[in-house]
Symmetry: C2
Subunit: 159 residues, 2 copies
Amino acid sequence: MFMQNGSSLAENKRFEVRSLEISDYRKGFIQLLQQLTVCDSVSDEQFRERFEELKASGDDHVICVIEDGQSGKIIATGSVFVEKKFLRNCGKVGHIEDVVIDSNARGMQLGKKIVGFLTDHAHSRGCYKVILDCSVENRPFYEKCGFKQKEVQMVKYFI
Amino acid sequence: MFMQNGSSLAENKRFEVRSLEISDYRKGFIQLLQQLTVCDSVSDEQFRERFEELKASGDDHVICVIEDGQSGKIIATGSVFVEKKFLRNCGKVGHIEDVVIDSNARGMQLGKKIVGFLTDHAHSRGCYKVILDCSVENRPFYEKCGFKQKEVQMVKYFI
């Protein structure tokens, strides 16, 4: 069997990364996000509305998913958006957010695939860097993806 | 003299926070950013182009400044943009970036003013939280602004 980066061609086809589609609402996309944080049920209409809002940003805001070719379920996701700055000579920065891998699909390098896809996308959009915030526990994973710790994240909640 | 939050009315008027205007290019806005990080000279045309791009995002991407009413120079700035998510019931998150106070204007609570303005803006846009990344040295300042450390920031540079 031919191998690509340690994965078989069949596996690569089964776990292809692609952009979020509107039909992913019915394939467990929201349920997957619920594994990351608080996310009550989102109605079909709410989903459609936010989907269209994000689509308006074009390639400057991309959500990618992996659909398990066998089960038809969304088992991994992540997003990246491009921030336009004045500094760094009107530079651009990619922000990676909301990377989630289904708890039943760990150990198959899907996280690496998602982060690689999002990083490549930021690069292709002309960003000079890509950043993300993660827990201290997840730092080793992102180090394997080529990231280095730089600063600390501060947060203020309104609710 | 009447006092507002420890500042005189005259001081408040002198150091008012407002949105970036196209004429701020001539008031040292880029030079101020250069105090934060690498920022070669940005031409008038580049500035105008990026300004218009950001303007297209409306209230979802705001850059604020403080112009010293006496010198006519921009002495403080910061930006916030609103990220639209699916999680948290199609929630929104404010991202604060590029807060800079002129090194000659420290100790006048301008940083607090800028961060307060950006935080209030994120709140008014319906964000459930506002986040930012900073150095460990700047953590005490943001704690005074009501922020708490949560995660760590990871970065990957392309150049």
